[in-house]
Amino acid sequence: MQRLTGSQILCESLLKEGVDTIFGMPGGAIIPLYDTLFQYPFRHVLCRHEQGASHMADGYARITGKVGVCLGTSGPGATNLVTGIATAMMDSVPMVAITGQVPTYMIGKDAFQETDTTGITMPITKHNYLVMDVNDLARVIKEAFHIARTGRPGPVLIDIPKDVTTNTAVYEYPGRVHLPGFRPRMQGHTRQIRQAARLIESAKRPLIIAGHGVILSGAFSELRAFAEKTQVPVLTTLLGISAFPETHPLYLGWPGMHGMYYANMAISHTDCLIAIGMRMDDRVTGRLNAFAPHAQVIHIDIDPAELGKNVPAAVPIVGDAKHVLEALTDEVASGHHPDWMQTLAQWRIEHPSLALPEKPETMSSPWIVRELYHATEGKAVLVTDVGQAQMWAAQHYFFDRPNTHVTSGGLGPMGYALPAAIGVQIGKPEEEVWCVTGDGGFQMTLEELSILVEERLPVKIALFNNNFLGMVRQWQQLFFDKRYSGVKMWNPDFVKLGEAYSIPSMRVKDVDDVRRAIDWARDIDGPAMIEFVVEAEENVFPMVPPGASLQETIESAEDVAPKMQQVAVAAGSDAGGV
């Protein structure tokens, strides 16, 4: 029988799993692995910081639907991966993170670059492994990929001590996994589906809210068929954006902290909320005890623990969005709700949350996003960072094509956009990929600019520079009497910085130059960066103040004081939201 080293077993097994790209950085404990990796046909993308590698694998996984693979050495390599692993965990992204470990005989001795990687990552992985025997390696890899991509996806970490990568074992890749404790349910329960259909048919003001689960299960056409048959208006969550065409007549936007006024009102008035592949995050629900107060909730999710966790469900359905939507569409009768649609249309007219001037006088960020939408005809993939720019991109770009909006929702790690955009561009080379970021987030992972050049990736960067940590500044303005604590930023010359990386870069300070700059960047055959020097103290509206309910959506800074007083009275001890 053929004996292979642990490193060879790993590489052979990755090939068997269909892995073509690995994002990582070598280090002491994985030098033998890198020596083997060199001899295999993988595309290895050399991150400049392992956080970058984990976000790259995340972006790659979200856009392709395949398992993203990142690789780091022991100790600091592993701890640097942590932010990206936690991001993937919160947003259900399929990922396998591989880390080197000190040799088995040194574990527990506080060796150089030793850290308890499985201990650290236990709460932020779907599962993890420390492989102490090379004979277990092939089975572990098989299980890791299966767990990462099956059911509710998530990150799985494999920690491999150095001697396990050099020891040899007979190699045979298992054909199947034996995991009696892991059997996700894909099909919805027939009785529950029937019950849901009856509830939808009898509802006067039904409403769909579609989350990331719809994108993860690829249920785009199923969602559309269901909504069109029942004529139920559709909201998405932030992570659900691009699960449903945003210019579709049934699309109503997204609710929550920076959602549209009419979307928040729709939730507050619906009598039947059909939640699909979403987990009732606090950014979506606002104050829980006032969320969807008139609704019977039909909650469809592949993870049973999400059903009833935050919001009680009248009809809980465990299953994959695609399967359940198919069955539900078959079961439910066609419907129409003209009065409800009329009410929603009226709210939209009276509170047009996304209305913008034809041309503003100052460098207004939402308007710049809208220009980007027009210039790209809505056909780009946007990868957004965390904060104000993220919210404006989600609000003012309209995503019609499935899975074209990539952002981190649960963890909210600043610095996500650039490395994730790299992963997205590598996963979909033919797409026009824009990295939408702010001066704060960009500076957290800008070291990955090298990758754009090294890997010849035509990612376009739209950098919204307001010389502030803008979202925190907005909160300080609205809720802390404008005490700007730790938010003002001195910044480098971003154009020179881009040029130092050989990336064509341009600064835009005038509204009249915005469109020209976008066209300039799009014409460049390769990466390009535009620094938009934007209005420094512009705010993201609408906004649901922390601790408030969706009914208490504010639409301008002037709304804050009176609304917040009501909120304080209404919320009582519950007002201390983050």
Binding site: T118, G119, M122, P123, K126, H127, L130, I147, G151, R152, L179, P180, G181, F182, R183, P184, R185, I302, D303, P304, A305, G308, K309, V318
Partner: protein, 175 residues
């Protein structure tokens, strides 16, 4: 309200840590947790006593099922069960007279002395936690020098097997 859960888990390194982590991270309060081997090598069995309302306990069970190493979880609170805990209690006993008193007390509770020194004895007692609490109360006046309790283990009465007595909650609940 107190709930007793019985969990069958894969006998893997780190499984106790995963369960304990889950409880602390989700803010669930463990009153007692015991773990030991079962009739097969591959699985261990945990008895977990937690305090919480119905919704909280349901959430605990669902979260436990999400752990890959967890095979089955049953809430046996409302089942007819045998519950047992073992306690070793070292009691101050300065004279032969008190030693006899303590031995008599222990006997009432079907306990016994398992170690004797000139000024102390160790009492061993087995029972549900109420019984252990009661004998502790009786021994306290003598002066308890130290005490250790194993935590509750639980088994459903009759011929049915505990970890399959769950109310229809099957392992397809795994996420």
């Amino acid at each position: 309200m107190k709930h007793t859960l019985v969990a069958l888990v894969e006998n893997q390194p780190g499984v106790l840590q995963r369960v304990a982590n889950l409880f602390s991270r989700r803010g669930f309060n463990i009153e007692s947790l015991t773990v030991g081997h079962t009739e097969t090598d591959r699985t261990s069995r945990m008895t977990i006593v937690i305090d919480g309302n119905k919704t909280q306990v349901e959430q605990v069970i669902k979260q436990l099922y999400k752990l890959i190493d967890v095979l089955r979880v049953s809430d046996v609170t409302d089942d007819r069960t045998v519950e047992r805990e073992l306690a070793l209690i070292k009691v101050h006993s300065p004279s032969p007279a008190t030693r006899i008193e303590i031995a008599n007390l222990a006997e009432i509770f079907r306990g016994r002395l398992v170690d004797v020194a000139t000024d102390a004895v160790i009492v061993e007692v087995t029972g549900d936690d109420e019984k252990v609490d009661t004998i502790l109360g009786m021994l306290r006046p003598y002066g308890i020098k130290e005490m250790v309790r194993t935590g509750i283990i639980s088994m459903v009465r009759g011929s049915q097997v505990t970890a399959r007595s769950s109310d229809g909650r099957l392992p397809d609940a795994a996420g």
